[in-house]
Amino acid sequence: MPDVNSLVNEFLIKLKKRKIEGSKATAKLTAELLRSFISQKRLPHTNQAGALIDAVKAVGEELIDANPVELAVGNIVRRVLHIIREEDLSLTTAAVGGLSLSAESDNEDDVDQGDHPALSAAAVAAAARSTLRPPSLQTLLEDMPHSTAVPQPSSSGGDSEGKSKSADKNSMTRKLKHNVIEAVNELIQDISTCHELIAEQAVEHIHQNEVILTLGSSRTVTEFLCAAKEKKRSFRVFVAEGAPRYQGHALAKELAARGLQTTVITDSAVFAMISRVNMVIVGAHAVMANGGVIAPVGLNMVALAAQRHAVPFVVLAWGSQVLPCYVVLLCNQAELTISIEKMLAYGNILCPLYPHNPEVLLNELKSPSELLDFGEFSDCLDFGCGSGSPLLHVVNPAFDYVPPNLVSLFITDTGGHNPSYMYRLLADYYSADDLVVRRRSTS
């Protein structure tokens, strides 16, 4: 136990000091941390899943607080919670199924009579599952009679767990933890291989002699471009350097080393060059449910320029990086059963993320020293100790918000998607109950 806590603390400090950069690295580290946390967590005999969920939530809360802007942390926490729920559910259904196979297999007609004591657990499980499963005609049909049952799956789910666990303890006590860890391992695997899945699609989008523009640097973009290159496509890349971090330099060097014709341009020259560009391909920091993108600073400008010249603006994003749930508020989707009122009822702090101007609220201001030498302007900068209002402010935001109407296409590890479709992916990745991780802190 102590070593887990120290691990968590170490990670928290790293997050707070912004030592971990890049959504992918953060995601991976978070997942690994949670895995070791879960594996060392001692679980009670009853209501294992509930205990686990609470424990993970508590840690997740701390992690999110450490760096609220690094949305990948929260997303991974939600993913893990979702995994726990799913595993628990499958165990429950398996157990229930074992007890009453016939009821499970043909209970489509019976579920609306959920009061039946023998079937209640299965019925609730099925209902809960239906919210998680990607919609099919069957689930849609199932959904209709359940409209009342769906909104509170967490409470009923908890009850069901309690009931089912009391029924058969031994088979599941070890199994749940094992399964969850397996699934988290899979998630980690996914995170490290998602590039490849995205890069595989490169050939479909890049063809001979194209001119592609990108800004800053992103592992995914690098892999994507190189994958196209490996398939014998020859094309040229303009790399905007991405002030104030100039990651574009490193990207350009790598691309050139891999044999791509690369030209580095200044960020200011993006508008000048975009008229000769066939496609803009960029990475994202996070994708919102409405299809908006939180991206490295400067991308909104690029997206506007691309729109002006009718150049496709393509965002590469991988599943878990994407989709911070709170912006679900935008879509206000019924199947996610969460509404603004509910969020407000929780007094959720995430509500300020309501995106009337997300770039301000979801942003992070970096050190002015990236822009100006302190020495040079030390007499006019405000160091927090001077009296009176300083004459000089330096603004150095880290992220831009690109509204969905400027994005032409998302390429994710599950294929290409329209911005308007992004909210749909939420159902695949997250459980509606976990959207608000911080419930406890506010209540």
């Binding site: 040229r236 303009f238 350097e241 991405g242 002030a243 104030p244 100039y246 330099h249 490193a250 350009a252 060097k253 691309l255 050139a256 080393a257 044999g259 791509l260 014709q261 690369t262 030209t263 580095v264 341009i265 200044t266 960020d267 200011s268 020259a269 993006v270 508008f271 000048a272 060059m273 008229s275 000769r276 600073v297 400067g298 909104n300 400008m301 506007l304 320029a305 002006r308 101007n357 770039e359 301000v360 942003n363 822009l371 100006l372 030498d373 040079e376 302007f377 006019c380 209002s389 004459l391 000089l392 402010h393 330096v394 603004v395 150095n396 935001p397 831009d400 918000y401």
Partner: protein
Amino acid sequence: MDARRVPRNVTDPKVRQVGFFAPVAPLDGSPSGPLRPTTPSPPVSGNSLSPVMIPLPRHLSSDNAPLSPLTGRRRRLLPPRGADKAAVKQNTHSASGLTPGVTDGGPPSEVQKEQAPVSSLPLKEKTTKAERRALQEAQRAAKASATADGSKKSVGASAVVTSANANPKKVAKAPPPQKKDSSSVAASEKRGGDRQTDKDRKKDVPHPRMQFDDEDRVEKAKKRSVVKQTEARYRVELFRHLPQYEHGTRLADLESKFFQLDPVHPAVYKVGLRFLTGDISGGNARCIAMLQAFQESIKDYSTRRDKTLIEKWDLPAKINGYVSFLIECRPLSISMGNAIRFLKTQIAELPLTMSESEAKASLLSDIDRFINEKIILADKVIVGHAVTKIRDGDVLLTYGSSSVVEMIFLCAHELGKQFRVVIVDSRPKFEGRMLLRRLVGKGVSCTYTHINAISYIMHEVTRVFLGASSVLSNGTVYSRVGTASVAMVAHQFHVPVLVCCEAYKFHKRVQLDSICFNELGDPDAIARVSGKEDINYLDDWTSSENLQLLNLTYDATPSDYTSMIITEYGMIPPTSVPVIVQEYGGEHLWI
């Protein structure tokens, strides 16, 4: 002496448009009138001219008649003025202007008096005149075959015009009084003009620029060039039409040649070097520096003794040499091109009879006047206009560093307006830092950020003030690279974009994108990030043949992003730029 007449007999046919385009004269008078304390309002008589004046038959032979007496008279006039030469430039200028009796809007009556006796003067110097005639013919033939140098000179009618005009200097405003005093002269001139207009219009079309992917021409240019330039090894494919040179080598090369470069005047040389190092940058600063260098060189100029008559007056050739030297140091800005065109016109229009010293004095004062009226006073007027657009509580955004915009901010600050300035800067020049330093020093509250954060900061901005290197006649604003992005984001956020630009920077050219014409800066400036030694991925960029660095200097902002252009002629929408170019742009308004 006579040789000098040769260039000037190529007279501006545009002049004659004055009669047809009545608004020109008053337009010129009204806005710039208050600007010039030295000059009384220009003759408004141009307005009353009707284009329907009956053209008299033009006889070339009889044309000669007025010419020679006039020159005779002028020669007689010259000595006293030559004696005066020590007087103040302004004085000399107005005197020289007066002789033709037109430029400075001297009372028409005076002109009449002056010219009336002229025509009645007996013919003198028949022999010289004949000689001159022959010379002119030869020259004309030569000129006609060669392409004009970009200014709207028409050669065909030049002889007629010159002879009829009899006061080639300041032809610009010559017609009105002339038409008044002698209809025959006016009429003949008019006819010349009539004939010329169409041709002339065609000539107005700007020349295609030198394209550096045209190998023949590049070879030719290389032979002429003073500076040895090594071409960049890895050129950006898209910009092969622009000169791409190795930057490091030129300065050393030039410095070593300091004492060998005979054809280049030291003052010009100095300015050239400072252009090269980036010591002087900014449209106005460069233009003024160049003109002042030309002034120096004109002061030191003397006609050559060892040449024949025609070749004696080689000032235009010299200036051309200087200009090409400057181009080799750094491509000219459009505003500098305009200034050079102005200077060339002035040289071409010098009266043949003027003594060398007078001609020089006149040129010097012309240049002075250009700097004062077109740049310094124009800036003041622009500041006056723009300050009215700043209200208390405004947040003003500017990009890079523009001298006019800086003046506007300082002026508004002095007026006690409460506002905040957002300075957006970009790599690699970081010109905004200088501006920031100066504004903060003056006590203006500033916010500093880089261009990527433009969408972040634009929320709080209420006005965007931008400078421009040039405004093209389709309304495109050609300015420091990044301006277009700033204007675009401002447009997206519905923030008004005000472009401040002196009218001498307007140009007839049109451009749709930033690629067809641009200037390429030193690519090494991109590889190095000042103050960040840890970013050194591109240090050895030349070793990879797949990697190029592109350092664009300008970009073209589409006209729909511009809400308003503030010039000394007032605040205009971008759609009015061609009007300004047409009505105010020709040389006839330079004076």
